[in-house]
Symmetry: C2
Subunit: 453 residues, 2 copies
């Protein structure tokens, strides 16, 4: 009857707790979390703020009751202050005071925190970071009286928030310092996302370097280089996140990229019986076969599950991330998996990327929507990745998953044509769009580099 | 400058012709077809008849002009009467008479023909089989004056036609001899399809053995065992198809299952320089590693492409079919890939199937639809197949393709959890439904057969 102590009540922590109990019903599992919201879907926050999910309680993947029903002792509003890996104790603090709690196995799932850029005015009232439920409630309060919002950062959350606030009839200005929004996809696709935002009335300003925020009259004015000053009632700063690894660092655990906790493939840290998972750890990249930092909810779920399994005697390995992700922005879904050419080059891998435009299903059946696929393969023919932009009803998300599965299988681009994929005119074509894109890639490569024979 | 002669102008024939020209622009490619409609999408016929695709011309995957623009000599209304594999000549017949045409390589893509059950009355006016464009025009003519239709056969085409005619406000009775419609999926899912048909007003009669069709007064009356006689203005008989292999048989080519032409993995027949592809040939099954008969448009495209490649000196292998398919029936999509338990058992493979009910995306985001997944794995843990029924907007088709890709990679069911699949609340869950189904399968198997350790 080992005592498994889990620090963190978000995706990784909850998954670890549940998996430990599932595999060892005799395990004594305690999950502590700093706030009162176990297993809340951070990814769902924009949909609460848009009004699409009216009740914030619904954002929980599982309720506290669900988790307790699995036999897990849930301690909310409880902070872990210190880990003593030698004696295997953690100092916990809650409203009743502090106490040392012993563990047989510890899982650290402290997650990430938003990066707060060092801008003059970042601390002003009406300026919000967005990561926790408390952040969410504070922002919701500000939004009630807002007509104009300024979003700093054109990544996933920034785009989702632009969509969400537009749906609330709040005027949105989006500031992005790169030359196009959504720098996680190539410019050719990012520009389509920019167009979609503008089409829905978002004032998108790219190459905009924010320098300061000032309160002027009734509003907040953001100014900087590359854009005319813009004023809003609310400012949302969503530039990126960093691992919340302070506790681990103070316990002497080695940190790696961006100060994420170093773990092995089984989610074990350098300290005996201490595992870690989720946004606070380095993530193994399935294609690069090395650690990277890539905080994603899907990855946190997988790593948490593995940490929980290994905390009760398992030996399961994390197979790695491909950075597969999708975001819905108004009518578009934007998805990617694996490596883009720019990323492959950075790793010393020669690659070719081609772009294919097609429809999600046979054009003769009503409702066909266009889809742009960028396919990346190595000069040796190996599939490296894909990016897709299309209507969110066009099965874009699960088409990127076909590529993600093919990547996991180590296929060549050419082998996409061998996959036996489903077809009916209302839902696809006899060659699925990802297969057409693969065939175009092979043709493109042949064109670029004619075979010597 | 080899002369490649292609018999057949549907998916396999057109793919073979185009691929041969693509790889060898010096190749002299002639494609002959018995009717005037090259590369028409047979799968699209129900959507023309429903009115969703108003112009039948749009059903062509490619027009005659597209095909000719690729440098292919297209001979419509031309029948191949005889193949002399010794002298490498084919006797062709058209309006101008007969002539022998020599080939260097021959590709046979004669397709399939509908099975005409030996029913008294099958030849009556108003009774239709459905496979070619001519059949389609004849049926369309009958439907113009029809208020009530009877469909014999509850397979893919029967279901699509029930949907199509209901949309045209024609009353539909569907007769199926099995105990549920759509016997290509398990009863648990077939029954959901039956409910969907009834919900939309289709009079579904199962366990109905049709024995005869009679003209009585202004209508056609179908009678038999297990159902009360039913009268309609039109009867559509869509029970199954069989390979159109007469020409090949007369040329002395070996036939296999259901008289389909025997080919090797490179789509070569027993005769030198004669290849064959599509619905007229046996199809290699990727999981069973043996030939089967499984006529599908996707497979015809793949095999045709390979035959065309190998006709101009290539040596590409057909990797095999998994029988992946999807059909849209009113609001549902019904999809399958790989083996069901009943099929595995028939092949001597022990298997377990579990069923999972979940949503296509996070339930807190509007529009989530339920999805039923049946997951089949071998007793050794190997993934064997899956079946999914859900709303057609729920990415059912491309979710079955994730499983199809995992099958091609030879994954275990448990390894589905290792796949890095995309997630955003409007489009999925942190564990995709196919991963949840895989996890349920592993739990189910553990439950059924506790590990000995």
């Amino acid at each position: 009857m080992p005592h498994v102590l889990v620090i963190g009540g978000s995706d990784a922590g909850v998954m670890a707790s549940l998996r430990a109990r599932e595999l060892d019903p005799s395990a004594d599992v305690t999950m502590v979390l700093a706030d009162a919201y176990p297993n809340f879907s951070i990814c769902g926050i924009p949909f609460y703020l848009s009004g699409e999910t009216p009740d914030w309680h619904d954002l929980a993947h599982r309720t506290r009751e669900d988790i307790e029903a699995a036999g897990i002792d849930v301690r909310t509003d409880t902070r872990a202050l210190e880990i003593d890996t030698a004696s295997k104790n953690v100092l916990l603090s809650d409203a009743d005071g502090e106490d040392w709690v012993a563990y047989d196995r510890l899982v650290i799932g402290t997650g990430a925190v938003p990066v707060e850029p060092p801008l003059p005015g970042i601390g002003l009232e009406g300026v919000h970071l967005l990561h926790t439920m408390s952040d969410t409630f504070a922002l919701e309060e500000s939004l009630r009286h807002a007509d104009r919002a300024v979003i700093v950062g054109g990544g996933y959350i920034g785009l989702e928030m632009a969509d969400a606030l537009t749906q609330r009839r709040i005027e949105v200005t989006l500031l992005e310092q790169a030359s196009e929004v959504m720098t996680t996809v190539d410019l050719e696709l990012g520009s389509l996302v920019g167009e979609e935002l503008r089409r829905h009335g978002v004032d998108v300003r790219t190459s905009a370097l924010v320098e300061r925020i000032d309160r002027e009259g009734g509003g907040l004015t953001i100014s900087g280089r590359g854009f005319a000053p813009v004023t809003g009632d609310v400012v949302i700063v969503v530039v990126s996140v960093r691992p919340d690894s302070l506790l681990a660092r103070r316990a002497g655990l080695p940190l790696g990229m961006r100060d994420a906790i170093v773990v092995d493939r089984c989610m074990r840290t350098a300290a005996p019986d201490v595992l870690a998972a989720g946004d606070c750890v380095e993530t193994w990249h399935r294609l690069l076969s090395k650690p990277t930092y890539m905080p994603l909810g899907t990855t946190a779920h997988k790593q948490g599950r593995i940490a929980g399994e290994n905390a009760v005697g398992g030996d399961r390995r994390f197979e790695g991330s491909l950075g597969t992700q999708v975001v819905k922005v108004f009518d578009l879904a934007v998805a990617r998996t694996g490596l883009r050419s720019v990323e492959a080059t950075r790793e010393g891998i020669g690659s070719v990327t081609t772009q294919t435009r097609t429809f999600d299903h046979k054009a003769y059946y009503p409702g066909a929507t266009p889809m742009e696929i960028r396919m990346t393969g190595g000069r040796d023919g190996r599939l490296l990745g894909a990016q897709i932009v299309g209507d969110h009803r066009g099965q874009v998300a699960k088409r990127i998953d076909i590529v993600a599965t093919a990547l996991a299988a180590g296929l060549n681009v050419d082998q996409l044509s061998d996959l036996d994929l489903s077809y009916t005119p209302p839902l696809s074509s006899p060659w699925d769009p990802v297969q057409m894109a693969g065939q175009d890639w092979v043709r493109g490569v042949t064109h670029v580099e004619p075979p010597s024979a």
